[in-house]
């Protein structure tokens, strides 16, 4: 009897082990695997929205983040924005934005105070760009309240040069902010989106079924956006009116500057919350015409103005034209707009399945990223309800939810693989901004997510795919230093990929200035063509895969060693 009992015990143990092994394998059986490594990074930032229970609308839309190499040491650092105390809120210590330096090996150090970028304003949008063309990336923060321009001193510190530059932009509720060379004169101009006209005096709360909730944007007047032309001497001039941008009032949120019509100049796409989205077409000289409706991108397929939040662009179908992906409010699918060329877009969300998993959620930060390096762009969507108490009056929704990962099947369609893409996709928080970059320089793109009122989520890409890749960093000489606005076309065998360098994108954020291309099983790149904004075209040929290449304008390639360390 005793021996039989022991035998049964072994069998039970084996069964348990078998089940466990299946479970372990089942944790990540997809091609894309994103694992949550937040705890090991040393990042202690906790976001605040400045809330006190009075439900000021600005609380619900904070904040963006920036991924950029502030110290030019070859790895990507992180800058988190935070809200600030609002009327009626008290803090012992004022919350501030936080800069974390990437030390390598998934360790980050808080260098906020040393760098001098701990702005205590109510952070909403952020962008990084070398506005003074001195070789390092500066930061512009778009606040509720006066904005801030930090000039990078090149020694790990920044200086607040807002007043000198003339870009405080009053005291508005900010949103996305973008650097672009609108007039092709070689320096970066500044586009500042504004959300709405909110003051404590016009504040109101709404209710649903007797439960208090945040008011909506339609309860506040819309605002025009602002455009500042870089004078080339460290100062900017407000050209909002003469450029035509100020003519249009909306409820601006996310945005991206991109040459959507392939005519060699940078246009601006701003998504509006509860209003038709804006597409500002550049005539090449910095004069813009709003063509969103005509282009078919102002409204979704149904003719509805969506509660648009963030937007990014990428060529999801590899046809050489950059498409847009816009996130949105709950009960609206995030929308994929295919660039049909000829200045026209079509909402292909349903055709492609690119809205899968997003209907029930409020969606925010997003991007096209080739997570598995198979040569086509997948989509990541950060989710989290705007209303922190939604469950009290609508339990078809939840305030804290998982994010969504859509894999590009390669045939122009997407499939929701959130369930099988690692423990990082199981995190349930109220996500807002998301940034995408190769944080560990291992040849795949990782994810940083800012969560409202909580710690961020850092996702390491541990995808099982062995696809080849190439990363491209641009160095402008006659044009702006980081090649912002430059168009890159890469050909590898039968694969042609197109991308552009952007400064500011997604949900009021900045990331991805180092362009990542997944190549699938192609071991080399036949040709890279770079078209510089306001400059010429550079062509490079025969580049080995799996490296970072730095392409200098009108100069030669500087390839890094294979394996991903492109320094």
């Amino acid at each position: 009897m005793r021996g039989r009992f022991f035998e049964l015990d072994i069998r039970r143990l084996i069964n348990i082990l078998m089940v466990l092994s299946v479970l372990v394998c089942a944790r990540a059986d997809g091609a894309v695997v994103l694992n949550d490594v937040t705890r090991e990074t040393g990042i202690t930032f906790i976001h605040t929205d400045g809330s006190s229970g009075r439900r000021y609308i600005v609380e619900s839309v904070t904040s963006g983040l920036a991924l950029f190499d502030y110290d030019r040491d070859g790895d990507v650092d992180i800058y988190f924005l935070s809200g600030a105390p609002l009327k009626g809120t008290k803090y012992d210590k004022a919350p501030k934005n936080a800069l974390y330096r990437n030390e390598g090996g998934w360790r980050f150090t808080d260098v906020t105070d040393r760098a001098g970028v701990g702005d205590t304003g109510f952070g909403l949008g952020v962008v990084a760009g070398d506005y003074d063309n001195d070789g390092d990336l500066d930061i512009y923060v778009n606040n509720y309240g006066p904005n801030v321009l930090y000039r990078n001193n090149g020694d790990g510190t920044f200086s607040d040069v807002t007043a000198q530059a003339g870009v405080a932009d009053g005291s508005k509720v900010g949103a996305a902010t973008l650097f672009l060379d609108m007039d092709k004169d070689g320096d970066l101009d500044l586009f500042v989106a504004n959300y709405l006209n909110f003051t404590y005096e016009n504040h109101l709360m709404r209710t649903s079924k007797g439960i208090s909730k945040y008011a909506g944007p339609m309860d506040f007047p819309p605002m025009p956006n602002d455009l500042f032309r870089n004078n080339g001497d460290g100062t900017f001039t407000d050209v909002s009116v003469e450029s035509g941008v100020a003519e249009h009032k909306g409820w601006g949120m996310g945005g991206v500057a991109v040459d959507y019509d392939n005519d060699g100049d940078t246009d601006v796409h701003i998504v509006n919350d509860v209003y038709g989205n804006f597409l500002f077409q550049n005539d090449g000289t910095g004069k813009f015409e709003e063509v969103g409706l005509i282009a078919g991108i102002a409204y979704d397929l149904h003719g509805d103005d969506q509660g648009s939040m963030g937007v990014d662009c990428g060529d999801y179908d590899n046809d050489g034209w950059l498409d847009f992906y816009q996130t949105s409010y709950a009960q609206e699918q995030a929308a994929l707009y295919k660039n049909m060329s000829g200045g026209m877009f079509q909402d292909v969300t349903m055709l492609t399945g690119a809205g899968a998993g997003t209907l029930a959620h409020v969606t925010w930060g997003n991007s096209f990223v080739d997570f598995d390096n198979d040569g086509d762009l997948d989509i990541f969507v950060a989710c989290g309800h705007l209303q922190d108490n939604i469950e009290l009056y609508d339990d078809t929704a939840s305030s804290s939810v998982r994010n969504v990962l859509l894999m590009n099947k390669g045939d122009g369609k997407f499939v929701d693989v959130s369930d099988q893409s690692g423990d990082g996709m199981k995190v349930k928080l109220r996500s807002r901004a998301a940034g995408f970059d190769d944080l560990d320089n291992d040849g795949d793109v990782d994810v940083v997510i800012l969560n409202s009122r909580r710690e961020p989520t850092i996702l390491r890409n541990d995808s099982t795919s062995k696809g080849h890749w190439l990363q491209v960093r641009l160095r402008g000489v006659k044009t702006n230093r980081d090649g912002v606005g430059a168009r890159i076309k890469l050909t590898a065998g039968d694969l042609t990929l197109t991308d552009e360098v952007h400064s500011g994108r997604g949900y009021q954020s900045h990331y991805g200035m180092r362009i990542h291309f997944g190549l699938g099983n192609r071991e080399k790149v036949d040709r890279i063509e770079v078209r510089w904004v306001g400059g010429g075209v550079d062509i490079l040929e025969n580049i080995r895969a799996d490296r970072l290449v730095t392409i200098t304008e009108s100069s030669s390639v500087t390839p890094g060693p294979s394996g991903g360390d492109g320094r």
Partner: protein, 489 residues
């Protein structure tokens, strides 16, 4: 057990905005109730013909109980501002929501095995945004009545809201099996197909829906969108145009049409349509018609609770508890000044109980809410006729003829009125003839026979009564009339 048909009402179309709440279901026009009401009206009409002198109370001088009822102030009703309680809108909202659940719970406690009670409990939770409890009680109602189509329908709609399209499709198909006449079911199946990317299947379903409801602008609109997905731009254009023909201010259809014109290379037309779209959109926003604008959440709650009370009252009435039904319908009418349905039910109850002034007051309210409601004017005419108020009755029947010109009821009723009062006899004959043209039904022939008889046209009278008898051979009254006419002749 007869299932409880939950009435449906218009909501803003789109769900989920932090600015609006999820839409529930499209308005079920009172016309769906029309056949039942007309049958009831027929009974009244026949009653009127054979009781030449009205048995109702004389006009005027009788205090309307409904006026008294509306003036009553219940200290426990927080929404009654005349009570002097100083509740905020939010407190009122919460109190009403609580009441909504309490009333539904009471019904369920009173009739614990009643599928309707379970269904309405589920719907009350749905109104609260508690989908978990909604599904639980809808499932319970299905346990009592497995082929209950409306429960499956609502479960399907919830599945759509959650993005569970396959499940929604399964549920909607079940609805179709159990009750193919469910309004809009093909439309919802099509919607699920569209979300799943099954565009060709969606087209077939929408065509079926349009076959049943040829004036369904939304179906044409969705068909336009579906053809757009299939890249059949010309067909998409035609359907957007159809949607606009049905509903000239259909803002989104203009957008769809503008987009299709652009796709088809009709650039100038596209631009013009885009301008029209922008103009309509601006007007919608200004008028508060934008689907995200909820300007008065308390009113939304009041309408919702009124709706629940109306449906629950019907269950009580069906179980013979008219007092409770009356109380709930009265409450509903107080909560929602625009709720036509509760007023119809209440007025029907008053008619049954011969409370003519009260019933009349309610029908007049309905006509005030919906000036094109032919049924309301019909009953106004009937009641005024019974109360010997000839001019008021005549006016009401003329209104029926105007707003429901393609129906025979108004013509017939006015003909009857003239015949009953022995006036305008030639016109009565013309009206009766028109009624027969519009609808060659037995009752219309019957009235025509009477009109011909009164006008000395025996041959016409005999012919008409013969048609009536052929249509309803078992009707003893028709045969009696035939005898009378023959005797006269």
């Amino acid at each position: 057990m007869t299932k409880c048909r939950v009435s449906q009402r218009a909501r803003k179309k789109k769900p989920g905005s932090h600015r609006t709440e999820p839409p529930i279901m499209p308005t079920r026009k009172i016309g769906v109730l029309l056949p039942g009401i007309i049958v009831f009206a027929v009974i009244i009409a026949v009653d009127m013909w054979f009781c030449r002198k009205a048995s109702a109370s004389p006009a005027g001088g009788q205090v309307s109980q409904i006026e008294e009822a509306f003036a009553t102030s219940d200290n426990n009703e927080p929404y009654n501002l005349s009570s002097g309680r100083n509740l905020t809108a939010e407190e009122q909202d919460l109190a009403l929501r609580k009441e909504q659940l309490e009333v539904a719970s009471r019904l369920l406690a009173d009739f614990s095995n009643d599928t309707n009670a379970a269904f309405l409990m589920g719907m009350a939770y749905f109104e609260q945004g508690n989908v978990v409890e909604t599904e639980k009680y809808l499932q319970k109602s299905l346990e009592f009545l497995p082929n209950r189509a409306d429960a499956c329908d609502h479960l399907g709609r919830i599945a759509l809201l959650k993005g569970q399209y396959e499940r929604a499709l399964t549920l909607f198909r079940r609805v179709l099996e159990n009750d193919p006449a469910t309004p809009g079911i093909h439309f919802r199946i099509a919607k699920a197909h569209v979300f799943l990317g099954n565009f060709k299947e969606a087209v077939l379903e929408l065509q079926k829906d349009i076959g049943i409801f040829p004036d369904a602008g939304e179906s044409y609109f969705l068909l336009g969108e579906t053809y757009q997905q299939l890249k059949e731009y010309q067909k998409a254009k035609e359907n957007f145009e159809a949607a606009i023909r049905i509903k000239p201010g259909y803002t989104k259809a203009y957008y769809g049409l503008a987009t299709m014109c652009a796709r088809l290379g009709l650039k100038d037309e596209s631009r013009q349509l885009q301008q029209k779209f922008k103009q309509l959109e601006a007007e919608d926003r200004k008028a508060g018609r934008h689907w995200r604008q909820v300007l008065d959440p308390l009113m939304v709650t009041r309408r919702s609770v009124a709706h629940t009370h109306t449906d629950i009252a019907r269950v009580y009435h069906k179980h013979g508890n008219s007092d409770q039904a009356e109380q709930l319908w009265k409450k509903a009418a107080t909560l929602d000044p625009n709720n036509v349905e509760c007023r119809f039910h209440l007025s029907a109850l008053y008619l049954q109980n011969h409370k003519l002034p009260d019933a009349l007051k309610l029908y007049e309210q309905i006509a005030g809410i919906d000036p094109n409601n032919g049924v309301a004017y019909f009953f106004i005419g009937n009641i005024n006729a019974r109360m010997n108020r000839f001019e008021e009755a005549e006016k009401a029947y003329r209104k029926v003829m105007k707003v429901a010109s393609k129906r025979s009821d108004g013509y017939r009723a006015l003909a009857q009125l003239y015949l009953q009062n022995n006036c305008n006899l030639p016109e009565a004959k013309q009206l009766a003839s028109r009624a027969v043209e519009l609808e060659p039904a037995a009752l219309n022939y019957f009235i025509l026979a009477a009109a011909c008889d009164k006008n000395g046209d025996s041959a016409g009278a005999l012919w008409a009564i013969k048609q009536a008898i052929e249509l309803e051979p078992g009707n003893a009254q028709y045969r009696r009339m035939q005898l009378l006419i023959r005797e006269k002749k």
